[in-house]
Point group: C2
Chain length 319, copies 2
């Protein structure tokens, strides 16, 4: 008889689903991914997810012991519902857990995607063996998660805090979070792009000015490319983003003093560009707290962090 | 034979020492306090502390089981040292724990005063029975502590985070914490007083203008008194403080989602004045997190919170 110890991790995003099959020791046996057309609705989406799970189970030649789902938020973790008219349009109050439990006869863990990714990094990535790991994902949005002694930090009623929305500048732009000048409104990819378009329109010169014939085509990557060519506007934007990120991390340091902070997401692919300003801005807080001893580094698992963490969440159900 | 279960809590401040004797159930049997002249040095200070401990032990008619000290920071909790040339001048690298252990033959707990006060509130005050309690003390400084499941939250190397120094306004005043525009630099008593003096000088009218003959005499209480009389400058300052406090709490909510936040310290004695602006400013964050369900209220034990918490820290050594 097959040992039933396979852990399945699923990362459900707005455009793709990934799944992986893992050993209890955290070794990835096989992984797969497929696009998901959220607009076709949850029933079609569930079929896509099941097909993917079947594929990785089959490829691993073992039986699943538990399944974990890391899902793009907002989710209602306690009731096991996806409440997501934003990135999964039409998926409001959708229960995907019960069908998966019934289909595979195993327990199913359910986590926010930022929590799952951080849990994955602590299990098998850049946060292994570290007590207090804070992870910040800077991409289309700014997501955050905090893992304490290997467990996801949960707030009031077990709900997920939204560490990407700490307000850092009272004069900053309004955000859907209700506040203004929060971290996401200032350093997410779209926020950087918006400021680049404004700078381009104001100056109509330099690297950004040359892109003005197609302002829709200006994104954060444009700014980073311009900065690498030494464009003054792009460099000043990069410095601003770096200083704002440092102020955000200063709040996190002052409140939590984590042992390690992991940075990930599209914007951090150009981390080398803003690292010098970022590190020198952070160093000034090293007076009343040991700020310079907090180990800030890039995450290690890339886009696979989510399936690792979902599998680990599944494993924690069995512990 | 006397049952040896008395818990002694000591609150060591820059100008006063308090001590209390408690039952294991958290009942205060007797308390006492005395001024301390920190400038006379640690040896004299230690004598004052011992005298106070002797008094409360004698008055309670029982034997001490453990002693806890909550001390004005910075302290080196792990090595048991007071490192405090600021509020305890001359007390640098002072070990008061070893002499107390030797003198009373019991274990001695040692905590930062903000941590001790919060632990006291969770033990017997306004945080009883609540899982995640964040406490903010707004007085001469802004201190913070976080108690999770009855235990003091500790950061990197077990050190005390400095939640009163989260940066909230990039254009705010410089602070000794290394940053600028941190919560303490904007809403502490002295920060409020400084802004009042500036407003008075600029306007030289109204309630504050009338105090300009003695600017040294203007403090936060002056501002609150002026606001109660309807003075426009004082009211605007109160609204500003309320909005800044709300932004600070928004960061705490976004990162931690605590179940309850306790406010204490001199500035909060006028909480009724800034409560309306404060609550309406906080309510706007109730979009992606359940901000309105975080129970924000005044702490309950007043200046005795420190001795309660120090006694509870002592008790935790025996558990």
């Amino acid at each position: 008889m097959l040992k039933k110890e396979l852990l399945i991790g699923v990362d459900l995003g707005g455009t793709n689903v990934r799944a992986g099959a893992f050993t209890p020791g955290g070794e990835l046996i096989t992984a797969n991914e497929t696009p998901i057309d959220a607009a076709l609705g949850p029933a079609a989406g569930l079929k896509t997810i099941e097909k993917l799970i079947n594929q990785v189970i089959l490829a691993s030649g073992q039986e699943a012991a538990a399944i974990g789902i890391g899902s793009t938020g907002p989710i209602d973790r306690v009731r096991g519902l996806i409440n997501n008219p934003y990135t999964l349009p039409g998926w409001d109050h959708v229960d995907i857990l019960s069908p998966l439990r019934a289909r595979y006869g195993v327990q199913v863990a359910f986590e926010n995607d930022a929590d799952a990714a951080a849990l994955g990094e602590v299990w098998m990535g850049a946060g292994r063996g570290v007590s207090r790991v804070f992870m910040l994902t800077i991409g289309t949005g700014v997501g955050a998660a905090y893992i304490v002694d290997g467990a996801i930090y949960r707030g009031l009623y077990g709900e997920h805090p939204e560490g990407g929305h700490i307000p850092v500048d009272p004069l900053g732009p309004a955000c859907y979070c209700g506040g203004n000048g929060c971290l996401e409104s200032l350093i997410s990819g779209p926020a950087i792009a918006e400021r680049a378009v404004r700078l381009a329109s104001e100056h109509s010169r330099g690297y950004l000015g040359g892109k003005l014939n197609d302002p829709q085509g200006i994104d954060a990557a444009t700014v980073f490319a311009g900065a690498r060519q030494g464009d003054a506007d792009c460099l000043s934007l990069v410095h601003e983003v770096a200083a704002t990120l440092a102020r955000g991390l200063a709040s996190i340091f002052m409140l939590l003093l984590p042992d390690r902070v992991l940075l990930t997401g599209g914007v951090t692919r150009s981390f080398d560009l803003f690292e010098p300003t970022f590190r020198s801005s952070l160093a000034k807080y090293n007076v009343i707290i040991p700020a310079s001893r907090v180990d800030v580094r890039l995450a290690g698992l890339g886009q696979r962090a989510g399936i690792y963490g979902a599998a680990r969440a599944a494993q924690q159900l069995l512990e």
